[in-house]
Symmetry: D3
Subunit: 61 residues, 6 copies
């Protein structure tokens, strides 16, 4: 605890995701005073054919 | 906002999913008065080997 | 199945939510050909002090 | 109802997952007195490159 | 890890929930061979006015 | 997009949560190059009577 789930559209590089989870863990730890080893981060990538805004799938745009 | 997540068993066609997200966006917008461009829809397909009812995976049936 | 989760900011009336779940069920059933009695809808209202866009809680705006 | 979601790191066998959903359904039914046929279980496997503890993805360890 | 989320309609007693989380932890540990101290269980109670089946909120029935 | 959900045990101050969402937004924007105004953060506080580790609710400890 805490648990952090980050949903984003597919397409980021492994390096970007690695930096993102490291830095998110850092700031959540600092602001909540939870030890970093208790912080879990889940990354969920959304496919363009399964995510819609304004009634239209991202794959249709 | 609003955010709508729809979980269903795999097997619908792309056309069905396309129609589903378009119509869901339409009725959520109409009933909540949120502008359509603020409505996000996420489609999550469940695999039969990872979804169980009555203690049995759908792939076992 | 299907399962539909709708997250929206608090403040809609009971009548709006009632209409929303009825109509969403209707269109999900029609577009996916799932019987209406199999469709579950969950409504989750977000509090303004627990939802942020652009780094700022809605309660701060 | 009830709905049970189980997230675990990838790597369990199909036999383990099958036993897990059967037994979880059993005890949830017994302790809540919900009939087993109303209990739905979703299994979500996390990939090592998408799950981090202590700021580090499991795939980096 | 694993993480287990259990959603059920409000109305169970504290004793029922206590037994449920204890027994679910037990069987998930046994079937997946994860140590019990790594298993987290989240209980989410659904309000009748926010959960619908067949297009109708449970509070309307 | 991205969408960030942070679950933590109840008990943080409003100031801590405010700082947490601001800083998480900042680093997610920087590492993914998503504009800050597209980043949504949801904070979910867990009650001690509804969250268990090792088979025991936090309220029992």
């Amino acid at each position: 605890m805490p648990f952090v789930t980050i949903e984003l559209i597919e397409g980021r590089t492994e390096e970007q995701l690695k930096a993102m989870v490291a830095e998110v863990t850092e700031v959540v730890s600092r602001t909540t005073q939870a030890p970093k080893e208790n912080i879990h981060v889940f990354v969920e990538e959304l496919k363009k054919e399964r995510y819609a805004v304004n009634g239209k799938l991202k794959s249709e745009e």
